[in-house]
Symmetry: C2
Subunit: 309 residues, 2 copies
């Protein structure tokens, strides 16, 4: 296996943002989570081991094929089974990409320098065993710490989704905290002084995306259950940025409300659904995906899918 | 493989904090990073593949045995090689634990609910293929999102290290941001209003550790290159909390300065070193570990290792 370093010769494939935009124009903005929880494996009559998570993942890929544009394997549930679980995940990702699905590896990785670059190589290197189309990342160490993954992604037509304002209630202390103007050292903190941590990340991601034509390749994760105004995030600040929005169904957000929640940014929203679909069981999952896709079509009826949000 | 859930019957083994405290009393507070960067693999005449990272890891374990108490495999460099890299990491972790080394998996995982619990099961479940003694975690989604890993760790004599104030300059915007008093919704943010994000995490970790006798099992990561005062972190706030401190050597901090940097918290500090040791090459690595250990002994000569910091 050859792992390409950031800065390697650019691919000629379309950008991740362009691929997402094409899916949106086709009316596809459903992302199906692949979350083989222990309790779901039991419900699906599968073993709680690497064989079980592989089978679970392949069945969800089969069900999603033709009904949804995007799948999002939750890495934790594969990692839980060690290297055997990772081998299962490699098979699931490969099957999904072979079926033409866009794969977002939900890994929430974060680190600095050459370490976080290694994570990006793991998930975004063409030809690598875990090659996905995009991955989720966490910026606790600052958005600037993710520069190497950003550059690697752009070089290979891949994408990132940076956690911004997540749907879990415990997140507020960190994500609504206010970025200081200048610390005592006089060294710039980066970020947007006076803005919330989440809004600062959204703003800096927008700057990253401004170098691309059309929809950018760096997205943000914003829970559909939160009030964006409380974080100081405006729809305008999301212009050109894909938004991966979890929180529908089980967590309380309604797909019918999505265009009200995201306003002018709705055209760039990916609706992420996991438990509400997976709890339908192996015989019901395709039906649940189809129903969710139809609900999305209705909710976005008034949205210009081709618009740069 | 059986994966224990949080809340399973408690182990009878000593807590992670007690094991760390015993190492400190013995004068052992060096943590050797296992970071098989591509350029180091080349320097070590090893292939940039799963075989190479396995060999690299096993050699560092051999060199550390008897000279350092703790090793810290950097997961990213194994994940970079997919499932084969994970199989290599399983071998490296198992060899380290068999040699009596305390293993901190540097994974920086973070998520919510049953997802982050799955990560904790992956790294901290007794008998699991990746079983380590502790793991690093990231609280971008709030320290409260890490409650399941915390409970699982305590149940099994394992530990966590939560990123607080890291040594990379891009981190300041997030980590020095000020936690708001009460958001507009009136719902508590958790955290410590008016404190920096990093100080709020330190404070909440201290609360977690207050349920344990002696040194707690939940540590924090604080870079030795930062000025704790700028984050509002006092040595007193670290009482009872293990501190994993990277940033020595290549990044600029000097081991000789460590007790001045951490003051009254010095007794709970783990000195983490990677590049400065690994760059000595396969024939020099044991000598570099020994030299680093002696430097630490000198630097901590005036510190009461048995004291609860």
């Amino acid at each position: 296996m050859t792992l390409s370093a950031a800065g390697a010769a650019e691919d000629t494939r379309p950008s991740f943002g362009a691929r997402l935009a094409a899916a949106f124009v086709a009316g596809d903005r459903l992302c199906v989570g692949i979350d083989p929880h222990a309790h779901l494996l039991a419900d699906w009559n599968l073993a709680d081991d690497a064989v079980g998570v592989r089978e679970f993942g392949l069945r969800v890929v089969d069900a999603a094929h033709g009904l949804a544009a995007i799948v999002k394997p939750q890495v934790a549930f594969f990692e839980r089974h060690g290297s055997a679980g990772y081998a299962a995940l490699e098979d699931v990702i490969a099957a999904a990409r072979a079926a033409g699905l866009i794969v977002i590896a939900d890994a929430k990785r974060g680190d600095v320098g050459s370490t976080v670059e290694a994570y990006a190589q793991a998930w975004l290197s063409p030809g690598g065993p875990l090659e996905s189309d995009a991955m989720t990342v966490s910026a606790y160490q600052g958005l600037g710490s993710l520069r190497a993954p950003h550059e690697l992604a752009l070089a290979h037509g891949k994408g990132l989704f940076v956690l911004a304002a997540t749907s879990n209630p415990e997140a507020a202390a960190v994500q609504t905290a206010v970025v200081r103007t200048t610390p005592d050292s006089g060294v710039s903190t980066g970020g947007s002084a006076g803005a919330s941590v989440a809004a600062s990340i959204v703003s800096d991601v927008r700057d990253w995306n401004s170098s691309e034509d059309g929809l950018g390749s760096t997205g943000v994760v914003i829970g559909a259950t939160i009030d964006m105004a409380e974080y100081g995030i405006t729809p305008e600040a999301l212009s050109g940025t894909p938004v991966l929005a979890p929180g529908f169904g089980h967590q309380g957000a309604r797909v019918a409300d999505v265009t009200r929640l995201f306003g002018a940014a709705s055209a760039s929203v990916i609706v992420s659904a996991s438990r509400s679909i997976l709890s339908a069981g192996p015989t019901g999952v395709a039906g649940a995906i189809g129903a969710q896709a139809r609900e999305i079509t209705e909710a976005f009826a008034g949205v210009d899918h081709g618009a740069r949000a």
